[in-house]
């Protein structure tokens, strides 16, 4: 069955305003308790740097950007990495309880599995690069920075939505 059909038939998601309020309270608690916001993309960079450090230590140590992970004691004891593990568990529990858990390659109806692999991986490359350039992603810069009224958050979020709309106009058949 088409995944979108399933979604339409049994859309058991919460109201986005309720979920958003919960997300906001989680972010606020993070500010109050630890003194910084939520993040995500830096965990991917950390694991990539450490992975390369295992595969090819000589080459990894030549890459200056990765020295922030390779030259510290116990780099895996990283706040964002632990937060991402919690994120996975929370989303897993939510999708199991909500009955949304299903192993699949999610894609638009007409899209081939091969095209989906390319769009998922290619999009990921852009996201990974862009997140490092912007010093964070939708979590660390847009959501956390936006909530602080930091210029960073609002510049990022506006640029992201504008370019997403332009890209959607150019690639109309990608998802719709």
């Amino acid at each position: 069955m088409d995944p979108r059909e399933v979604g339409m038939k049994k859309n058991n998601f919460w109201s986005p305003y309720i979920a958003g309020a919960g997300l906001g309270l989680t972010l606020l608690s993070t500010f109050v308790i630890v003194g910084w916001g939520l993040g995500a993309s830096s965990a991917f960079s950390l694991l990539t740097g450490l992975g390369l450090g295992k595969l090819s230590p000589a080459y990894a140590h030549k890459i200056t950007y990765f020295s922030q992970y390779l030259n510290v004691e116990a780099p895996l004891l990283n706040w964002v990495l632990f937060e991402i593990m919690g994120l996975f568990l929370g989303a897993l529990v939510a999708s199991l309880v909500g009955g949304n858990f299903r192993v699949r390659l999610d894609r638009a109806e007409h899209m081939s599995a091969g095209t989906r692999m390319v769009s998922a991986f290619g999009g990921g490359i852009l996201i990974g690069f862009a997140s490092r350039l912007a010093r964070g992603c939708t979590s660390g810069v847009a959501l956390s920075g936006g909530a602080q009224l930091a210029i960073a958050g609002w510049v990022f979020v506006i640029a992201m939505f504008v370019s997403g709309f332009v890209a959607a106009a150019l690639f109309r058949r990608l998802w719709s």
Partner: protein, 190 residues
């Protein structure tokens, strides 16, 4: 007690809290529909507005609480790490990010939520994010100048505009309220 927050916690306590806070982050993302790439890209095709609704509601709630607790002298804002601004790299980064978001149907956090709901394409995106981080690290020496350009470290809308934060918040409430109203009306019409 006045100005006790943010609390200084030990590293171990901090990591335990990271898992707990992350748990709720993931729970609300998935329950808001943000583990689903169709919903995540829907905003760009004007078919589903879950992303801006969840995101801006979250921002408003957190911003209101943050500035309120600061005004009530419960939270010391000077000890909260403010996301640093580097205008041009973040503008270009945000624009590139939007294209990647549309192609993959995810962002880093929502890809993890997508994988947690059984989506293997989210795992492929996570691999791509790692690869993109590697590409950035490799070309970093060549773009270091740009990366550190236009620094406005710690700049916020109230500080740059020279306005009280509640004046800025009033604009944000109006903007978000107007946006929610338009999105609701548009969705009802379809």
């Amino acid at each position: 007690m006045v100005m006790s927050a943010p609390f200084m916690v030990s590293q171990t306590a901090g990591l335990v809290l990271a898992v707990v806070l992350g748990f709720f982050f993931g729970l609300f993302l998935e329950r808001g529909g943000l583990g689903d790439p169709h919903k995540l890209t829907g905003v760009f095709y004007l078919t589903d507005f879950s992303v801006p609704k969840v995101m801006f509601t979250g921002m408003l709630v957190a911003a209101t609480g943050l500035y309120l607790l600061s005004d009530l002298k419960i939270l010391d804002m000077h000890r909260v790490w403010i996301v640093p601004t580097f205008f041009w790299p973040q503008l270009v980064g945000g624009a590139l990010f939007g294209i990647g978001f549309l192609f993959s149907g995810y962002c880093p956090g929502t890809a993890v939520a997508g994988l947690a709901s059984g989506r293997l394409d989210a795992l492929v995106t996570m691999g791509g994010i790692g690869a993109g981080s590697l590409v950035f690290a490799i070309v970093y020496p060549a773009i270091e100048g740009f990366y550190f350009s236009s620094p406005m470290e710690g700049a916020t809308l109230p500080s740059v505009l020279g306005l009280n934060h509640w004046v800025v918040m009033a604009f944000v409430y109006l903007m978000a309220g107007g946006m929610f109203y338009v999105m609701e009306r548009y969705e009802r019409k379809r």
